[in-house]
């Protein structure tokens, strides 16, 4: 089978990009797989794409590259339309509602068109109008599947398949470093300010523990200011971006996920895959979709006093190594469900059923 993944950019540092590359890398052992990136934003993809996976792009947005054509959305739409008209594959998987609408309208009729969705349906009208022309929608969590099922009113089959961990074996934490790690884009929705405030309470009681923040983004300057304001300059390290987040998580004893909304949740499942307990907040779009509190991590209720509760939960984990190890074992069991081979097999079943 020839499978094509249509993504906005395969070159960026985002969880959904990582998820698509992991899945494509596993499927490519048995199928011809290509990632079609609408934009090329840098010289090499931030997350390496294995040689067995084909990679093409439509618009060159590398810094310094000049084009006579305008850079806006209209050009992207035209390029996607041209690419879709010329597409030769058995199955097309889109990774954004805007791309799924384009695929529904313009992809050749013989191609199985599947929309991969990580978030709830945000624009109901175009979705109701165009999604019925798709072959299927595949949601990343049970909650998202229910939302899409309600939005589409049974017009299209909606499946649930989680994201995949990398094909290569993940590093395994020894849980012996006094390090709490957190990773992701430093943007408001990730809630890193809540984590820094909670860590101020932890550092006061356990001064030999350190917090490492991986990633970059618009919030970095504000977070550095918060660290200075709270006097945490010896305790909080801004580690920058890394293409090997699991390698860094495996050096930690706890991974903190303070997000208000954790989509697609790759950091959570990578932490589980490294055998590190996850500490997060309860909440509709937080890590609750991936974590069972007390089994593979700890979830703290949001609301009044949440910072203190989060700090207390972190201190409880820091002080109880046996519990940390028990949660780490649970994390590895949970992560088995996200193994690339398991997830790819579920995709193959869905695509096999849809392909004529």
């Amino acid at each position: 089978m020839k499978i094509c993944f249509l993504v906005p950019s395969a070159f960026d540092m985002r969880g959904d990009v990582r998820a698509v590359i992991n899945l494509a890398a596993e499927l490519a052992f048995r199928h011809e797989v290509e990632i079609l990136s609408v934009r090329r934003t840098r010289e090499k993809p931030f997350f390496p794409v294995p040689d067995r996976v084909g990679l093409r792009w439509l618009i060159d947005h590398r810094p310094g590259k000049r084009s006579l054509l305008p850079r806006g959305g209209m050009r992207a739409e035209v390029e996607v339309w041209r690419a879709l008209r010329a597409l030769r594959c058995d199955a097309l998987v889109t990774t954004r509602p805007a791309l799924a609408v384009q695929a529904a309208r313009h992809a050749p009729k013989g191609v199985v068109r599947v929309a991969r969705e990580w978030t709830r349906p945000a624009v109901p009208n175009p979705i109701r109008r165009h999604y019925p022309r798709l072959s299927a929608v595949v949601a990343s969590t049970e909650r998202t599947r229910e939302e899409w099922r309600r939005a589409l009113d049974e017009a299209v089959p909606v499946h649930h398949i989680p994201d995949a961990l990398p094909v290569d074996p993940l590093p395994r934490s020894r849980l012996d470093n006094r390090i709490v790690s957190a990773g992701g884009r430093l943007v408001p929705v990730k809630g890193f300010d809540r984590l820094v405030r909670a860590f101020a309470i932890v550092a006061d009681k356990r001064p030999d523990w350190r917090l490492r923040l991986y990633g970059g983004g618009s919030e970095e300057k504000r977070l550095r200011g918060l660290v200075a304001e709270l006097g945490l300059h010896n305790h909080v390290f801004f580690m920058g971006t890394t293409p090997d987040l699991p390698g860094e998580f495996a050096k930690a004893s706890i991974v903190a996920i303070p997000s208000l909304a954790e989509t697609p949740g790759m950091t959570v499942i990578e932490a589980l895959g490294c055998g590190v307990p996850v500490l997060g907040f309860e909440g509709r779009r937080g890590p609750e979709d991936f974590i069972t509190s007390g089994r593979d991590g700890v979830l703290v209720p949001e609301g009044e006093g949440e910072i203190e509760a989060y700090a207390a939960a972190m201190l409880a984990l820091i002080d109880d190594e046996r519990r940390r190890r028990a949660l780490a074992a649970g994390a590895l069991e949970t992560a088995a469900g996200y193994a690339a081979s398991v997830v790819a097999a579920r995709w193959e079943r869905v695509l096999d059923d849809l392909c004529p």
């Binding site: 993940l170 470093n177 200075a228 300059h233 090997d244």
Partner: protein, 265 residues
């Protein structure tokens, strides 16, 4: 041949100890090949597997005998056919082990680690006695620093040693500010009055170099932060600045992770 290193450690005696899963048992001709990144120089050593069970093997390699030079060395396993790069799932990093490893006097410091692409490699650095910084503060008009002495050969006990911290200007080493420091075993703490720094440096704006002078050691110890896996502290750690008599003072790191005190500017 498929090999996954599950545990990799350089012991105190500079022996590389590996536990791994293999799809074929290690035979007589099995070799560990270390390849220097950059120059391509290779070192080969025959492996004698101990404790071989089905699909698992343990090996130990004395690194001192291999005459490895500083830099990064990628690890391969060769047995019969073509060499196989060794995949590793050991994060290769334990803060406590690194601290314990730095107790002995050494000329070279070896560390086994997992590369960003998931393979086993060795990192070799030149090692000389140094003061490894763990925390820095401005408190009550003083610059305070605390940490561990590395590669000094001192025991991690409670023995006190006389010590003082000096702050030297790189353009004129005769201009120095000095203050008593506390050394117990391998732990140190030093505090320097910022007023003294300003008084000694009315014309010496720039980067001042702190050094720890410890009884029993020939040379003053540079203050830096190298006994962990964090490279490039200059970007990752931003210390807050303070202002004394209108002069801004801020601790910072150099590109090679040595501590400096930036006065003025």
């Amino acid at each position: 041949m498929r090999v996954i290193v599950t545990d990799a450690e350089v012991t105190m005696a500079d022996v590389l100890s590996l536990r791994m899963t293999v799809d074929k048992p290690l035979g007589d001709g099995a070799e560990l090949v270390l390849r220097h990144r950059g120059t391509g120089i290779e070192r080969r050593v025959g492996l004698e597997a101990t404790g071989q069970q089905a699909g698992a093997a343990e090996v130990a390699v004395a690194l001192e005998r291999l005459a490895l030079t500083p830099g990064r060395w990628d690890a391969y396993l060769q047995q019969g056919g073509p060499r196989t790069r060794m995949t590793s799932i050991d994060p290769g990093f334990s803060l406590d082990r690194l601290d314990a490893y730095a107790l002995r006097r050494r000329e070279l410091a070896y560390r086994a680690y997992r590369t960003q692409t998931g393979y086993l490699a060795l990192k070799i650095d030149e090692a000389r006695p140094a003061a490894d910084v763990r925390a820095v503060w401005f408190r009550e008009g003083r610059f305070e620093v605390t940490g561990l002495l590395a590669y000094t050969g001192f025991a991690d006990d409670d023995e006190r040693r006389r010590a003082h911290m000096e702050l030297r200007h790189p353009e004129d080493p005769d201009v120095a500010v000095s203050a008593l420091a506390t050394v117990r075993g391998v732990r140190f703490h030093a505090a320097l009055s910022l007023c003294d720094v300003i008084a000694a440096a009315p014309d010496f704006e720039g980067l001042w170099e702190p050094l720890l002078v410890v009884e029993g050691l020939d040379d003053p110890l540079p203050l830096g932060a190298r006994i962990d896996d964090v490279d490039g502290r200059r970007r990752r750690v931003h210390y807050p600045a303070t202002t004394v008599d209108g002069v801004r003072i801020r601790p910072c790191y150099t590109a090679d992770d040595e501590l400096r005190l930036e006065v003025g500017g």
